[in-house]
């Protein structure tokens, strides 16, 4: 029996769930699924450092409690959200906006959907009781308390289906916005299904409206990529520096499917992104790239679980962390190559750049290889900026911060370059630039 779940915090959340239940879409089987997910969370409680996967990100110490659900956004909240969305608008995308955990139709673009593309709010899908889709959307890994909690509490999200052979030219952009000034939690869950030969670019960003500070964004994304389909995925965490962002993505690839994902974390007080990728079809290819740009007392954790279940798949991970002040960056990368997965080609390279003596970067690569005919490797480095380069640049007239900025840009460049779309690469570069300018 878990003593901790019976603490004040545990009880408070338990009550919150009881209260929230009426606001959670989905009856019957869905409600049962949620109940089970919540029980799983209650059994495990908030993860802490003695749980191996959460060794560096002790939510019990860092977050202490899960805040109650944010109220549904009113007109003023939607107004603040709209302003935040506008500030970070990306040209040429189809925007899907979630405000305080609720789909905001007025801020979203659901007009003229391409043939083969279906987009519905999660709430609508769950309320319609649409069996298989609902079950998949709310499906939960009950061994992970935060994913379980997300499944239990999700109030809304988007459900996107892309039919076989449909290749979207226009990227989809899911924007998560916290509008409220009162600390609260948002729970969202989205589902993306790509049929065979389909192609999609998905951008996800996390923003704070003016005045939104110590909120908690709990998000989950479930993705299936059909045979021969391709998903390009870009995530930008630009939450408020007091916010918590606890999110996960679970991605499965069919045969000869291709998944290219890039994540940039520059915002949030504490963030944890758990990405689970399964190569379930032969010949599939995964590129995972990530950048942390953090300072102050920020804590950013990317935990990757790369599962090679079948032969002839390739995965590449490039992760770069730039850590200033007393910030703490965590990268955990676990690659598992199952006995059948011969001819797997898996490589992981992580590098951290520490800009201050108090900055910390933890890196935990793990390779578990059960097949014998594979090419696997990983490497990791941690270091400071090269003084001789800095001096050379300063001797040419660049002030120290500017010289540092150029070296930092070069350092994260390799990961950012992996973004296939020129326009989105520019967006990522601009986001990094904002961080660099803020510290200058």
């Amino acid at each position: 029996m878990n003593v901790v779940a019976k603490t004040e915090t545990g009880r408070a959340l338990s009550d919150a769930f009881a209260v929230a239940r009426d606001r959670l879409p989905g009856k019957g089987k869905i409600a049962d699924q949620r109940r089970q997910a919540f029980d799983a969370y209650e059994r495990l409680g908030l993860p802490h450092r003695r749980i191996e996967d959460w060794k560096y990100t002790d939510l019990r110490a860092l977050m202490r409690e899960v805040l109650p659900l944010a109220p549904a956004p009113d007109a003023a909240a939607l107004g603040r959200a709209a302003a935040a969305v506008k500030l970070r608008a990306i040209d040429g995308v189809r925007r899907l906006v979630l405000v305080d955990g609720a789909f905001a139709a007025d801020l979203s673009d659901l007009g003229n959907l391409d043939k083969g593309l279906t987009i519905r709010p999660l709430r609508e899908v769950l309320d319609a009781g649409d069996g298989a889709l609902s079950t998949q959307a709310i499906a939960t890994d009950v061994s992970n308390p935060m994913i379980a909690l997300n499944g239990a509490m999700a109030t809304d999200g988007v459900v996107i289906e892309v039919a076989d052979g449909t290749v979207l030219v226009q990227p989809l952009h899911i924007v998560h916005v916290a509008s409220g000034t009162a600390p609260a939690s948002m729970f969202t869950r989205s589902l993306l299904r790509l049929g065979r030969d389909a192609g999609v670019t998905l951008v996800e960003s996390y923003l704070a409206g003016e005045g939104a500070k110590a909120y908690q964004a709990h998000d989950g994304l479930i993705v299936s990529i059909g045979d021969n389909a391709r998903l390009d995925h870009v995530r930008l965490i630009e939450d408020s520096v007091d916010a918590f962002n606890i999110s996960s993505a679970t991605v499965s690839l069919g045969a000869h499917a291709h998944f290219n994902t890039f994540g940039l974390t520059s915002g949030g007080h504490v963030s944890r992104y758990q990405l689970t990728v399964t190569c379930a079809g032969e010949g599939s290819k995964v590129e995972t790239n990530g950048v942390n740009l953090i300072n102050g007392t920020q804590h950013a954790d990317t935990t990757l679980f790369m599962d090679h279940a079948v032969p002839h798949c390739a995965s590449r991970e490039i992760f770069r962390a730039v850590v200033d002040d007393r910030a703490h960056s965590v990268f955990q990368g676990r690659i598992i190559v199952r006995p059948d997965a011969q001819k797997t080609d898996a490589k992981m390279m992580t590098r951290a750049l520490l800009l201050s003596d108090d900055a910390e970067a933890d890196n935990k690569p793990e390779l578990e290889i059960f097949a014998d005919d594979v090419t696997c490797g990983h490497g990791a480095t941690t270091g400071a900026l090269d003084e001789s380069l800095l001096f050379y640049m300063r001797a040419r007239g660049l002030p120290e911060k500017e010289a540092q900025a150029l070296l930092i840009q070069a350092f994260v460049g390799e990961a950012i370059e992996s973004i296939a779309s020129d326009a989105l690469r520019e967006v990522a570069i601009a986001t990094a630039q904002r961080w660099l300018e803020a510290r200058a």
């Binding site: 640049m393 002030p399 120290e400 150029l406």
Partner: protein, 250 residues
């Protein structure tokens, strides 16, 4: 007023004194050559003038146009017109030469209160200079000095010097690693920059460079001091007799 005045400079590195009271006065329009055996402190002097961290100045002064250079950050010195062509230019992967030069030039201009130079104007300027130094365009697209040959790195230093138009140029062994043709091109580049307002301090081991860049004054450095100064014939003398006579003097 002299352009650069080094007075009784004493410098330590990691508790060890390297320069023991070195003095040097450089006037506008002059070219000074500094020669001296390995380890005599030539690069140390150039680094201290440019403001490299890690050197402790325990005595003396460096004045640039009468201002205390030692009080300034390296980038301020550059903006005021102090340029060092490094003996060992570093490689900066991921930062294109192009970007770097543009950012550096604009940083200098900004520090001087001048307008920034636009991309097209910059492009034109760099292209002209690169052409005069026989530097292919595609080198400018590569990371700073990344994969450059020894000679190419040196030419890139001269390129920067021509671009920034400094008041004092310190060339630390710009001739090492250059083939005969490259040496002539680089020396022509340096000579083209000679002007009544500008001064050069040329550090070299070889008299040959001084046939191309003819100095007004030649200094011999030994063990952290200037032990002899003279006209250009001093370089020829050294070529004949070596440094042994001066080591005793030091």
């Amino acid at each position: 007023m002299s352009l650069l005045e080094v007075k009784d400079l004493q410098v330590r590195v990691e508790e060890r004194e390297i320069l023991h009271g070195l003095s040097l006065t450089v006037n506008p329009g002059q070219v000074h050559a500094i020669m001296g055996p390995n380890g005599s402190g030539k690069s140390t002097l150039s680094h201290v003038i440019a403001g490299k961290p890690g050197y402790e100045v325990t005595g003396g002064q460096i004045l640039f146009k009468g201002e205390d250079l030692l009080e300034m950050e390296p980038n301020e010195r550059a903006a005021k017109g102090v340029f060092l062509a490094f003996q060992y230019p570093v490689e900066i992967p991921g930062v294109t030469t192009w970007n770097f030069l543009h950012a550096a030039l604009n940083a200098q201009r900004k520090a001087r209160g001048e307008d920034e130079i636009s991309s097209p104007a910059f492009l034109k300027k760099v292209r002209e200079v690169a052409k005069s130094l026989n530097i292919p365009q595609d080198m400018l697209k590569r990371g700073v000095n990344v994969g450059f040959s020894g000679g190419e790195k040196k030419r890139n230093e001269i390129l920067q010097m021509a671009l920034f138009e400094p008041a004092v140029c310190i060339l630390d062994e710009m001739d090492s690693g250059l083939d005969i043709d490259a040496l002539r091109i680089a020396a022509d580049g340096v000579n083209a920059l000679r002007s009544p307002e500008r001064a050069m301090v040329v550090i070299t081991h070889y008299q040959r460079l001084l046939n191309y860049i003819v100095p007004d004054v030649v200094h011999v450095m030994s063990k952290g001091r200037v032990v002899k100064s003279g006209g250009k014939e001093l370089a020829l003398e050294l070529e004949e007799s070596g440094y042994a006579q001066f080591e005793d003097a030091a």
